[in-house]
Each structure stands twice: as structure tokens, then as C-alpha cells.
Assembly symmetry: C2
DNA sequence: TATTTTTTGTTTCAAATGAAACTAAATATT
DNA sequence: AATATTTAGTTTCATTTGAAACAAAAAATA
């Protein structure tokens, strides 16, 4: 009964450790916070997403998503268009400025990840990505 | 350059997924929030800890720790005593009520973890615990 | 040993957060 | 078709959060 090993606890500490370091860097370097970063990643990968879809993909609160999208539109990184099938929803996508931003941020992010992953063996890297995938499937 | 695979991002989503589910349960069942839970875990494992030590162990902000400890003392789960060597600091430890609480909470927490881990193979479980340990060493 | 710097922890205050209530539209039910 | 229910997203408001300023003690330096 070793609580030091308690998984959710360990995982949240680990996740905090990693994102604490990253958050400050993003703010200083690009003027975006973690919420904005998460939403930008989704928008970068997905052409037309609604707030609901972002909620599903990020596990973020809908209020937070609503406000983050508003900010990103105000900052001029994101375009919003009416949803063709649902008048309540909007489709969001990166505009040119957003694309440009992401092309600056991503290499930076990947460099950080690289630095972290370089300290794992190739087997460990495989295991890690396998485990993350598996957990995400388990947790719906 | 697959951002879906971006580790810090994946990890924070995963960690959120897991703790979102847990947080509500702890609040309903035991009236404690995640901050309190984290500090209680530390106090359960360590006999005499200061706020500083808790910060090191949990990655939590010092203001949050200060307030969480105050709450836990008020709720009657934690005793505080002057630090023998440093008049600025205090030593904290679970009192009887705190011990009693943890003996109720822990089996519950472990049951949840069990449920999660039962969906991994024995190899995957080993890999997971190895990886968490390794990351924690890498990240100081 | 007097003075400066650093460390530990708390308080203040402005910003971030999210539950609850709300609007408006879509879907289901009668 | 009319009405009720559910869904998508926003606003309000009370709470949580943490940066910055602070107090007090310890450690370092002169």
C-alpha cells in the first residue's frame, strides 16, 4: 500500500513538473498561455472544429474554451465562421497569422520534447507512447 | 512533426482526465479537494514536514500550500508544531483524526487505481512505474 | 558583531476559474 | 405541428489562484 506509487498522484505531479516549465516559456516567448496553446494545437491539427469538439479533445472546461477562443480571435490568430449545420455552433480555424505563430512555436515545443525524450532509451520511448495511447483509450 | 504525439500536451490531458474523475469523488465522499489530498498524502508518508518540503515533493505553489495547510489545521486533520531549528518554519503532521481520515480515503483511492491498472498487462504496469520514476529523476 | 542577502512563509490584490443560470437553436415527444 | 427536452455556447458571480509585496528569521559577508 505504497502511496508514493499511487498512479493518479504521481501522474499529476509529473504533468505539473513538465507544464510548469513550459508555461512560463510560452508566455515569455510567444505571449500565449497554456489554454491558448492547447486550443492552438487542436486548431493546427483540425481544419474546422467547434468548441464542443475542442472540449472532447482537450478535457478543458467549456467556459474556459469559450473564453480562450474569444481571446484567440481578439489576438488575431483564429477565424470564426458560422457552422453550416448548427446555428448555435461556430467553426474555428487558424488564420494566416495563427499559422505563422504555430510555425514559430512548434519547433520550439518539439525542441523541448526532444530534450526530454533524448534521455529515454528507444524502448522506453516506445513504451511511453504505447502507454499514453492505451490510457487514452481506457479513459474513453 | 506530429503534435498529437507531443508529450507534455498528451501528458497534461491524460493527467486531467484522471484527476477530473477523482476530484469530484473525493469532494463528495470525504469533503477534501485535490490540494488537500496531495498534502495529506505527503503528511501520511512523512512524519515531520515543513511547507518547503511539501513544495519540493508536490510541485505545488507555496501560497497554495500555505493555505491548504491552514485549512487542514482548521478542519482538524493536521497538527502544527514549531520547527526545532528554524523559527520561520513549522512542522506539520497528521493528528489522530487525520490518520483516521487517511485510513478511510486510501483504500478508496487504491481501489480506483486498481481498476485503472487492471486494464494494463503486467509488463505495461512495470513499464509505467519505471517511466514515472525515470521522469521524476530527469526532472530533478 | 553589524550589515546585507537569502530563505521561509503569509497577506494582498488582480486575474483565472468554473458552477449555475441563461440564451438560442436543435432534437424528441406528444 | 405544437410543446418539451436536450444541446451548444455565453454570461454572471463567487471562489480559487498565484505574482508581488511583505514580515521575520537565518545565513552570508563585511
Amino acid at each position: 500500500m505504497d502511496l508514493n506509487q499511487f498512479l493518479p498522484y504521481q501522474l499529476s505531479i509529473l504533468s505539473l513538473k513538465i507544464s510548469n516549465g513550459i508555461a512560463e516559456h510560452y508566455q515569455d516567448q510567444f505571449g500565449i498561455n497554456i489554454s491558448e496553446w492547447r486550443v492552438l494545437v487542436i486548431l493546427y491539427k483540425n481544419p474546422d472544429v467547434t468548441a464542443k469538439r475542442i472540449a472532447q479533445l482537450t478535457q478543458m472546461d467549456k467556459v474556459r474554451i469559450s473564453r480562450t477562443l474569444k481571446t484567440l480571435v481578439q489576438k488575431g490568430y483564429v477565424a470564426q465562421r458560422p457552422h453550416p449545420l448548427d446555428a448555435r455552433a461556430k467553426n474555428y480555424e487558424l488564420n494566416d497569422r495563427g499559422q505563422y505563430l504555430m510555425r514559430a512555436v512548434i519547433p520550439d515545443a518539439l525542441r523541448y520534447e526532444e530534450e526530454l525524450l533524448s534521455q529515454l532509451t528507444s524502448d522506453e520511448r516506445d513504451q511511453l507512447s504505447h502507454l499514453i495511447g492505451k490510457f487514452n483509450r481506457i479513459l474513453k
